[in-house]
Symmetry: C2
Subunit: 254 residues, 2 copies
């Protein structure tokens, strides 16, 4: 079987974040699959077919790309950020496990990228400076009480918390509920970093407190980092503040 | 004040992972600071001074680089992986907060990179496929009972766990203790991925079970990813296995 499939992380959207390995994989591909807005970030190449699809069609997109590769083509599936973090890599693996035996023989590779929490953290300092977790607030694929249990566990054990997919039109109340949940464990003054579209013209990165977080605009493309009791804000004259979590930890949240 | 400081993530060590943004920052620098083996990864440029230092000298290295930048130089501090993940970014912020007021006026930037857990995950499939945490097993900067508490919280709430700094000569028993701790929450068959030196000639990525993990070789440069009850291994004829954590989660570990 001669086909190949690469699952490629584009990073946050600016070409300055695209690794040479990802660039090479995009150049090799005869066919590109992906969520439309992510595909739009990849410059057109002659002779390269494009198959955009909608969000929340990850399973069908993964199966179509695998089928195409199994027919002998060199296929790339593009992902925003890193494909292994709330993106296409797991969907591809699910389809390989459930699909025809021949898909297990395919040459499949996963090409990492700068995921949103790393890009947002870098824009503001070092908020992930010590132990941290990454949690999707979408309850499309897990029950909300599991999200709450994970918020409780992470905040009470002193992890910094990076929240992916905080808000969507179909999930209007979950983010406020999550902030209320975190305030049970953390002081209202705990820094919360909001970042979206890093490296793109509409980039916006700001700092709020946990008390103000619910009232801070956020959408599906926003990444929120909630600090710990030890996270600090450095005010700087004439410059935006830095937010960081010290490397040394002594205290566990109550 | 005309000096500049960039804290640059080199990724896992292969130039294929170095972003164009990081490449540009290294090219702009008049002086490079960093842990010796990381500096050795950066090709020499004429007219560029190099200041290598030992591991565990992060505070002194950060202060020296800030002082140099405050004198008007364009300085880069290099970090393996991502500077914000158990690396130099937090040390730089600590020194800015504690140092002379003038350091707050400096043009400081943080340039993200591919951190080890993303590189190792990509080599084996999608083990971080759902909610996950990143935890350093080093107890140099936090008490061991805090590490244990975080392991308990993460495993019992069903987070995949990426372990940085699992073993060093000065910390021989901590990794075995951590695996024993995780076995209280997770089945002995839970997949554990071991990865080191991704993208370098001595790259090694393998899968063990949680029962076998203590007996699997690991050192300071190894990154270990311990799955959840839902993490799966796909056996492939003639190819290495894939490990992934499904996007959908229903079960919380007991």
């Amino acid at each position: 079987m001669s086909g190949r499939l690469a699952v490629v992380g584009l990073g946050p959207g600016d070409p300055r974040y695209l690794t040479p390995e990802a660039e090479a994989a995009l150049g090799d591909a005869e066919a590109l699959y992906g969520y439309g807005p992510y595909l739009d970030r990849v410059p057109a190449r002659s002779g390269q077919a494009r198959y955009p699809s909608d969000n929340r069609e990850e399973g069908a997109r993964a199966a179509a790309a695998l089928l195409h590769a199994a027919q002998g083509a060199c296929v790339a599936v593009v992902s925003g950020g890193d494909p292994g973090v709330f993106a296409m890599a797991a969907a591809i693996c699910e389809q390989i496990e459930q699909g025809p035996e021949s898909w297990r023989e395919l040459d499949v590779s996963f090409i990492p990228g700068i995921t949103a929490m790393l890009a947002v953290a870098a824009k503001i300092g070092a908020p992930l400076g010590h132990d941290f977790c990454a949690l999707s607030l979408s309850d499309n694929l897990k029950p909300w009480d599991l999200v709450e249990r994970r918020l409780d566990a992470a905040a009470s054990a002193g992890f910094v918390i990076a929240l992916y997919n905080p808000v969507s039109r179909a999930r209007p109340w979950q983010f406020g509920n999550a902030m209320e949940r975190l305030r049970r464990h953390l002081p209202e003054t705990t820094p919360a970093v909001f970042g979206r579209a890093v490296g793109r013209p509409d980039e916006l990165v700001s700092v709020a407190t946990l008390a103000e977080a619910d009232a801070t605009p956020a959408d599906m493309a926003t990444l929120v980092i909630v600090g710990t009791r030890e996270t600090r804000v450095i005010v700087r004259p004439g410059r935006s503040p830095l937010v960081y979590t010290p490397r040394a930890a002594v205290e566990v949240s109550a």
